[in-house]
Amino acid sequence: MAGTPSTAPPITPDIVAEHGLSKDEHGLILDILGREPNLVELGIFSVMWSEHCSYKSSKKHLGKFPTEAPWVVCGPGENAGVVDIGEGHVAIFKMESHNHPSFIEPFQGAATGVGGILRDVFTMGARPVAMLNALRFGEPAHPKTRHLVSGVVAGIGGYGNCVGVPTVAGECTFDPAYNGNILVNAMCVGIARADRVFYAEASGVGNPVIYVGAKTGRDGIHGATMASAEFTEESEAKRPTVQVGDPFTEKLLIEACLELMEHDCIVAIQDMGAAGLTSSSFEMASRGGCGIEMNLSAVPLREEGMTPYEIMLSESQERMLLVLQQGREDEAHAIFEKWGLAFASVGRVTDTGRMVLLWNGETVADVPIAPVSGASPVYDRPHEKSPPRVPVFADDRLAVGDHDVSLLKLMGSPDLASKRWIYEQYDHMVMGDTVQRPGGDAAVIRVHGTNRGLAVTSDCTPRYCEADPREGGRQAVAEAWRNLVATGARPLAITNCLNFGNPERPRIMGQLVDCIEGMAEACRVLDFPVVSGNVSLYNETEGRAILPTPNVGGVGLIENLDHMVTIAPDAAGLSLVLVGDGGHWIGASLFWRVVCGRNNGAPPPVHLGQELRQGRFVSDMIQRGFVCACHDLSDGGLAVAAAEMALASGIGASIDIPADVFSTNGWLFGEDQGRYLLAVESRILNELLALAVSAGVIARRVGETGGDALTLGAGSCISLEDLRRCHEGWLPDYMGRRR
């Protein structure tokens, strides 16, 4: 190369700091280049080495996750994880955060989060078939919360509805710890033919590098860097760095890419997500161990006067970068022209191992690829354990009033209240394969044209993770596994989105490390590997961190949909069977928080061996056709599970309280783990209980279905109508719009 690429302003320490790079990182850049970078190059290092893109604080620990199983086709490292689902199909899925943009501009932030995760999935050749989202908002009384809920839900719906992918499941909970930093995690699941999975590995010297999709504008410049810093009051001023989504273009891009993929001319394909053209080109070249030369003058632009720096850092949405086989450009161009999308040949693959960027014939950047994308700094940040908490067991001396009052409080509490107001704003039925809609343990999507299904769920209990990060990590994985089992599915694998505060603080880093280790342990025991994921750190505002929130997205397979079960018992007179021991664990429970106003105590432990045994027993009973309905026990314990089953079916139930229980509160509301409530026909009850004994599983009859009320023991009886009003009423009332 002829000397240093042209530099406009000299690089000062202030400019380095503005790019979020430390002094040491700047020194490393000087070593790599052997000279001072110019502004374009500095911008490239800044985004590629941002926490968001480089995982520099978490990388060391992410390796602890098990990532392999016979059915795993592709684990972490690609755009999304791939698992075999049989009959020549694979499921491709991933979860990702869009927290910071959603707090600043909830509609566009959430919408573009949906768009980004969709692209991660269809870029690998899958047709997206389901969307999920995990939402964590601040306390309902906080002045911003209502506005954020409204904007985020409208944004998710506005994007997902338009692209025509059903949004089928998710979570929405509230806690003051998210007042200044909400979480918006979106997950997408797609299905592809097993012999037609596409990867982002550039190869073939001379092959053209093609830009397709929307044109490039100035939106979202430095979004990845913003997502890698704590929030301050001034963050509001960063609204212009939030990207603007266009789901219409995304829909066209999905169809055009899937059509092109039928043509067998793609060498590599990668969406332009965080850090846009920079990360997509560097990642493709780095995976393929090659170089790329790009002519930025050929990039389709939406605005005049854009500089190479802006073009490389723009996070304009709905764009993809492809490497095509030489000579196939016309064929590909015709497809994108049909769909009305920009198509431009912007460069070619080289064997130099360098990224060379040209602008009006002049070299404006020339950097080696491997050190930028592979050798970003990895930090072993100091970490410190959270102080242990003591268990709290149920005790009937607690003055909490009658059980029916407690149950109504729980069912109408923000975390447990029906989220119908949200999911009715999402098209959850488009594509005609939603065989289990939102509101159950997991949603189920039929594999189009077959009688097989994918069960999908998103789970995490942040208050457990706060109380004991390792136990909370285990629980998040176990609950996802349990929710899939409860539909009759065989759990296959998970994706995750690890949301934490500032990793430079040892307590926060300790939460991250312990959550990861707890999750990894559960994944290993349950044979439920991690195939993709995302890390979102610096979720803090003015020094206040969020609760540790490692959201888990689980996918399971139902080989025969005739054996799928839901949470709704379809008849009266069925026996209700509790699988697992009676409840007594109250610490960190929802009962403790909502009814007793306390939040201390250790979370309920997850006994993974028992979890596996009980889950396998439930699966076996479902496969035998013994189970009419099944619900896992989670927040609010047995009483809430029974109430949700009754509301789902419109058939009441009575729950017995055995005379020998240590505490009736614990029996009804304890959140002991690994448990299920089954509705079974009375004629097979004894056989089922005998099978439980031989499987080494505790199971007992705890009640039956029937009537139009829920009865808890001898004293408490709530009509389904009251229960429903309380459960359905909270969110619409809160949002002030009963529809």
Binding site: N161, G164, D246, P247, E424, Y426, M429, V430, R737
Partner: protein, 220 residues
């Protein structure tokens, strides 16, 4: 029998409608691109739901001016049955085949849920499988399903028995609870609810299937 389903840029229920036609009517379904100019020799035309042209300008307004629409208008006039669902209904009002217009839901939010309907007229190839006054359930999923029409237009629809379906619990603020209307010749039906999403018990009921079965009996 041969059916056609038109795909506009942004259509997203085109596959669902084609599946319903294929499965219930056992017919061949041509997938027609909006830039084509000829629907071919067909016995049924489906205009599917979705967000044609991203709902830019007004829902359905740009699609209504697509090249394929000239042939659709010709065939509709010649009596070929045309079924427009959701965005398809919006397109049929925008191109003038059906009266009235669809504006933003009264609640201002997208609404996706099963909707109870009353069959208001059974005198059309699309409603002959039902009995007048019968109550059925079809899912709705729309942001702009609030049907508006001027008082004269409304009395004309009522006098000519052209209201096909009415909501039992109006989800969007539609005038006179109208969920679907027929043209004067009764061969064109536009409706907001999705019959193609209710063709099997696994998807929450079979009331939509009966629309296609009824059509088979009359047209097959």
């Amino acid at each position: 029998m041969r059916a056609a389903v038109i795909t506009f840029p942004g259509s997203n229920c085109d596959r669902d409608l084609a599946v319903a036609f294929e499965r219930i009517l056992s017919c061949r379904v041509e997938r027609v691109w909006h830039r084509d100019r000829d629907l071919g020799d067909v016995d049924l035309i489906g205009v599917p739901g979705g967000f044609s042209y991203g709902d830019f300008l007004r829902c359905g307004a740009i699609a209504a001016r697509s090249p394929i629409m000239a042939d659709l208008l010709r065939k509709a006039e010649a009596g070929v049955p045309v079924l427009g669902i959701c965005n398809g209904f919006q397109i049929l009002t925008e191109c003038g085949l059906l009266p009235g217009a669809l504006i933003r839901n009264r609640g201002l939010s997208f609404v996706c849920r099963p909707a109870g309907l009353e069959v208001a007229s059974d005198r059309s190839p699309f409603t002959s499988g039902y009995r007048r006054g019968e109550r059925i359930t079809l899912p709705v999923a729309h942001h702009d399903g609030n049907y508006v029409i001027d008082p004269d237009g409304l009395s004309r629809l009522e006098d000519e028995d052209r209201i096909a379906f009415r909501y039992l619990d109006n989800p969007n603020g539609s005038t006179a609870d109208i969920a679907g209307v027929l043209n004067r010749r009764r061969n064109v039906l536009g409706l907001m609810p999705h019959p193609e999403r209710a063709i099997e018990p696994a998807l929450g009921g079979g009331d939509g299937k009966r629309m296609f079965e009824g059509f088979m009996e009359v047209a097959g």
